[in-house]
């Protein structure tokens, strides 16, 4: 993938969304030639963390609505067409029927098959009951063109917190919705789902590429904001016996990527708003993966800044991500097979970085 191609496509998207070019065929971003039965190559799109927020009556927070509407419109323009679209969780802000319905209505504009991940903002009002009416099982797996896909619900927590602590479901949802709330509780996969995961993986051969979608990072970055999954080490232990594992996660509203054993981790952006890197909170220690070249520091005067969605190319068992950023230069994090980890294709050399990528 050359920078020229990326710029061409970005220009296309920007021109198209501003209505300058109508009906022009998008410039293809990816190589599709060379795919074989043992090395399938295909694409999918990934939209996440829209946080649709109800005000009252028929009013919703316009800013967050626009981010999701734009992602859907742009994803429908993709050429080649993605095989499916994943929504990475936190469709709603406070898990209400009004918010989930409004978000689902916007997502229904996508011309593709959808796979949906559970986020904590979708879950803690009714423990995912209404979400299930819309999207089905909370965790599941499927096979596609020789790749084994797994969607986890990684945002459950200790039973006493969920069932015994709060006087109402609304209070429970509000307590979990505050990212920095000390009354929150660490995200978990839980014993039942761990057992299911183990069983599910037992049917998969070691050389089958595995892709896992989770809302929270299946690695421990910063517990205070739940950039964290309690059983991350146990999940990694199950996954690393496979030759090629890719974990894609939402929740963090920022670019992160990492490599642990055979597992490549990459986060996705939010369509609603960006979050600070944990290192910018001066009172706590955090562990941003060392490989990460950060996203731009957001310009708050532009409401779509540091938000966006992702286009993914699956080949040689690995996932390359293009971050389609509405008001920043697009970024690409691709798996570097020589180095054996994901890396930013433009900014891995510290000399290439820009002042806006320094966070403090």
């Amino acid at each position: 993938m050359s920078n020229k191609t990326l710029n061409g496509r970005r220009d296309f998207l920007k021109a198209t969304t501003s209505g300058v070019i109508a009906g022009m065929l998008p410039v293809s971003l990816v190589r599709l030639a060379g795919a074989t039965e043992s090395d399938p190559e295909f694409t999918f799109a990934y939209i996440s963390d829209s946080h649709i927020q109800h005000i009252k009556g028929a009013e919703f927070v316009r800013n967050w609505d626009r981010g999701l509407i734009r992602a859907v419109a742009e994803a429908n323009l993709l050429e080649p067409k993605p095989d499916f679209v994943v929504f990475g969780g936190d469709l709603a802000q406070l898990g209400t029927k009004a918010e989930l319905d409004h978000g689902a209505e916007i997502l229904s504009g996508l011309n593709y098959k959808m796979r949906v991940v559970m986020g904590e903002h979708d879950y803690y009002l009714d423990l995912g009951e209404y979400w299930s009416d819309l999207y089905g099982e909370h965790y599941y797996s499927w096979d596609h063109k020789g790749v084994h896909f797994i969607t986890l619900n990684s945002i459950i927590t200790y039973d006493d917190w969920t069932f015994d602590r709060w006087e109402s479901p609304e209070r429970r949802m509000n307590e979990m919705a505050g990212l920095d709330n000390p009354n929150g509780s660490p995200f978990m996969v839980g014993r039942k789902q761990m057992k299911w995961l183990k069983k599910d993986l037992s049917k998969v051969s070691r050389d089958t590429p595995v892709v896992v979608f989770s809302h929270s990072p299946l690695q421990k970055i910063y517990k205070g904001w739940n950039f964290w999954t309690e059983e991350a080490d146990d999940v990694q232990a199950l996954l690393k016996r496979f030759d090629k594992v890719n974990v894609i996660y939402g929740h963090v509203h920022q670019i992160q990527y990492n490599q642990i054993d055979t597992i490549a981790f990459t986060s996705v952006m939010s369509t609603a708003w960006p979050w600070p890197y944990p290192e910018s909170y001066a009172q706590a220690e955090s562990h941003l993966p060392i490989l990460t070249v950060p996203m731009n520091r957001a310009d708050p005067f532009n409401e779509r800044d540091a938000t966006g969605w992702q286009f993914m190319n699956m080949h040689t068992g690995r996932v390359d991500l293009e971050f389609n950023l509405y008001n920043n230069n697009n970024r690409t994090v691709a798996f570097n097979h020589e180095k054996g980890h994901p890396e930013d294709t433009m900014f891995s050399n510290p000399k290439e970085r820009t002042p806006t990528q320094s966070h403090f």
């Binding site: 927020q53 800013n63 708003w273 600070p276 910018s280 001066a282 957001a298 708050p300």
Partner: protein, 130 residues
């Protein structure tokens, strides 16, 4: 010489009468006052009541991170002039929160700034930094 020593001793003894005389209990009481205001600031920061659309400051700024109080006053390129932190807070109240801006000396504005500064304690002042 002897006279000088006596005068100096008198000045030292008389000193506390003229200076701001306070005890450890006083400083603890004043700190508690600050903590109370900062706690009210955190309550406002995490509450929808500052705006009109349910959005709270903490939604984008958990633990008031990425507010950089140590860099103010600074040139805010989008406004084209050097501003103080409270002006930036008002910008956020008007825009993402769709609310009415607060006066610089509004107790709610002072409380929110107390909270922001508290979360950034220990970081060196760096006015003007971007």
């Amino acid at each position: 010489m002897k006279k000088t020593v006596i005068i100096t001793m008198c000045l030292l003894l008389a000193g506390p009468v003229f200076a701001d005389d306070f005890t450890k209990e006083d400083t603890e009481r004043w700190m508690a006052q600050f903590e109370q205001v900062a706690a009210e600031g955190r309550r406002l920061w995490t509450s929808p009541e500052i705006g009109t659309n349910g959005v709270a400051c903490a939604q984008c700024h958990p633990n008031a991170a990425n507010t950089h109080p140590e860099t103010y006053p600074k040139f805010q390129k989008q406004l084209g002039r050097v501003i103080q932190l409270w002006e930036m807070i008002n910008w956020c109240i008007r825009n993402p929160l769709e609310g009415e801006e607060l006066a610089a000396d509004d107790p709610r504005m002072i409380a929110m700034q107390a909270y922001v500064h508290k979360e950034r304690r220990g970081v060196k002042l760096n006015p003007g930094k971007h």
